[in-house]
């Protein structure tokens, strides 16, 4: 079942066209990687998808509902979870409280003035942390975590709203190589069991070709190849882009 449909997405900054007419779709339970050299438009694409930027043209729909023109917070409520390229967690809170924050937001109790926050949805937060393997560190302040662990916490936060679409911007950047495979395998398992469409950007080709169901290749704002890893691997234009002209 198709979850995300992107059609003719276009965005320029001043005179620079960051994305030109990009179209693709992601299905439920599918793990799709976006690759391309630096400046190809990967992060721009992500920022358009979760509403941090507004597109100049094109449409984005999730389960048939358009996401264009909505604020990130509203897009999140429609079922889009996101992890950031540079991890962003609430440094003054513990790991558990970070996840609780997302749960409190899901339940629309953000402005409750009297309820004791530490007791709200603590069990559900722990269950999410267990899924990403962070339960043992639940009480630690987020500010003290190792980088790879922060990425897992971000994943747990993103899962709190039972997302339909999960956006992961360079989820393994800054991690040790054995950790990388584990994180993507985790994301893959979550996608399959919960029926989440996962879109991620990645520089590590081993991860991309080892775990993605499909690969999108962006170059200078244009989509130059789409398909299964083994198809994209032998695509002439991709070979030229990464290996130089034959």
């Amino acid at each position: 079942m198709t979850a995300l449909v992107v059609q003719g997405l276009t965005k320029s900054y001043g005179g620079v066209q960051a994305l030109r007419g990009v179209s693709f779709s992601v299905s439920t339970g599918e793990l799709v990687a976006i690759i391309g050299p630096n400046g190809a438009g990967k992060t721009t694409c992500f920022n358009l998808l979760n509403g941090q930027l507004a597109p100049d043209a094109g449409d984005i729909t999730l389960d048939g509902r358009s996401l264009v023109g909505r604020a990130p917070r509203d897009i999140w409520r429609l079922g889009v979870g996101r992890t950031f390229q540079i991890t962003a967690t609430f440094g003054s809170m513990s790991v558990r409280e970070n996840v609780q924050m997302a749960l409190v937001s899901r339940e629309r109790r953000l402005y409750a003035p009297f309820a004791a926050f530490p007791r709200l949805y603590a069990a559900e937060a722990d269950a999410l942390l267990e899924r990403v393997g962070m339960l043992e560190q639940a009480a630690r302040p987020c500010a003290l975590l190792a980088y790879g662990d922060l990425k897992r916490v971000e994943l747990a936060i993103a899962l709190a709203n039972r997302p339909r679409l999960l956006l992961m911007d360079e989820p393994t950047a800054g991690m040790a190589s054995e950790e990388r495979g584990a994180l993507i395998a985790l994301a893959r398992a979550l996608a399959k069991t919960d029926g989440i469409a996962v879109l991620f950007t990645e520089h590590d080709m081993e991860i991309v070709f080892g775990h993605a169901d499909r690969v999108l290749v962006l170059h200078a704002g244009e989509l130059i190849a789409v398909g299964a890893p083994e198809v994209v691997r032998v695509d002439a234009r991709v070979q030229e882009l990464y290996l130089g002209a034959p």
């Binding site: 509203d74 999140w76 402005y111 004791a116 500010a143």
Partner: protein, 607 residues
Amino acid sequence: MSGSALLLQFLNGLAGANSLFLVAAGLSLIFGVSRIVNFAHGSLYMLGMYVAVWLAPATGFWAAVLLAALIVAATGALVEIGVLRRLYQAPELLQLLATFALVLIVRDFALWAWGPQDMLGPRAPGFGDAVFIAGAAFPRYDLLLIALGPLVFVLLHALLTRTRWGTLVRAATEDREMAAALGVNQRWLFTGIFGLGALLAGAGGALAVPREPASLAVDLAAISDAFVVVVVGGLGSVPGAFLAALVIGEVKAFCIGYGYSEITLAVEFIVMAVVLVLRPWGLLGKPLPAPRGAAAVEPPLGRIDRKAALALACLAALLAGLPLAGDEYTLVLATDILVFALFAVSLHFIMGPGGLASFGHAAYLGLGAYGAALLLLRAHAPTEAALALAPLLALGGAALCGWFAVRLAGVYLAMLTLAFAQIVWSIAFQWDSVTGGSNGLIGVWPAPWLASKSAYYYLALLVCGIGIALLWRALGAPLGYTLRAGRDAPLRADAIGIDVRRVQWIGFAIAGTFAGIAGALYAFSKGSISPETLSVPRSVDALVMVLLGGVQTLTGPAWGAVLFVWLQDELAREVEYWRAAIGAVVLALVLVFPRGLAGYLKERFAR
């Protein structure tokens, strides 16, 4: 208004724009290079005025202007070397606070040196008479000022664009780290730019002497005007300061010309607010480059566990027994302490977890106080109703200012909240028929059942106790956590469904309301109120209380208030210049304990 009168008002505006420009350009230059908003810049302007008036009889007017500018420039350079140089790496809030401490010190210095009376200066020789323009008299001296503004602008522009030193200044404004990496000697550059900025402010003050008397209130008036100008023009931009000074100068001239001098500040605020919403970095400014390196991570906020709750309950029981042991003086002081503890805790609510450091929190204390007094005296409401309804006025003010404030950050936020407070102050100060003007309102006494000091103390204990408990409770509830989420990582907060501006606005309004409750209690405890209640130094008192206790602690600000009010009481009895003493305490605090006393003790004994 006739055509010639219109022309005269216009010229009047141009003349006024001159001193606005001189002060604002200095402020802007200093900010551009050092990233410090110098709150004491208005004090340097005031110093320029006093020195010129003081020297003129001995040296003549023109030599006095020159000497005043040079003396103020030297003062500015010394301040940079002695104080600010140690603070370039400190958090923004502490920098602002340190420069504010200088305001207090300079004001008391002027009081000591020249006394409390306004001092009229001489006229400029050769420019004392009037010329006739379109059939109306216009001071010749003002024509000189009109010519002087553009001249200074051109000179300053040449200095910045045609000299090597100017190139370095512009490089440092553009990218401080890069300039340092290229081997620019930052120390002398910073001292030099402070000296230049102070020179401009001192000259501005000295040149204003023939137009207005030197007085002790000039410093805050000048700095809030300068804030409006640099915000409208764009921080760090000299042409922006020039353009904005013209705009604001004209706005002031026409407001006064049409007989609405009371609303001048309000109109200025509206101009500033509109510019901030449309172009947050000012007419000719550029968005500030984000500082490199990771943002500071705030430590977690403490919680009241079982043990702490028990200790607080014991404290409450102890406080309830105070009227049995203490005399009237002690009870009055204890009531003050309770009121200001609530005030400090309300500021901490939005400043610590919310990350919005308001430099005008006394505005809401004052709105609550004036609200209570007006309800009692003008609407003849009973005490209970006045106490209950007055905080709504503070809520209204906080909601208005907060709507703009949550769209800003850092120094812009500080300037906006300060300017708002200054406007509320000037309304209270100038609206004689309603607020009693500078005398304030007297006869604000509570109902007979609250008339005794002990009864009123119990009321304050009950209301402030509940108020503080509610605010602390809210910080441990989703509301407080949501505020912290917005401060810690706004992008992440937005990506999990949090409307950061909205929660900050709510937090700002709540903080203002509780400050208003404190204000209403304060009015009835004193029996009278004056504009002093909501003056800017009062706002800074609150900041000091919070910092004294530690911004990122839960109960610290309440202890900070206890210590501050007690200290102030002691100082005010023993020391004549207690404001300066407080300034000195603040400076010491900022330089020695940047994390606050509670924060320092926690760090010290945590390991």
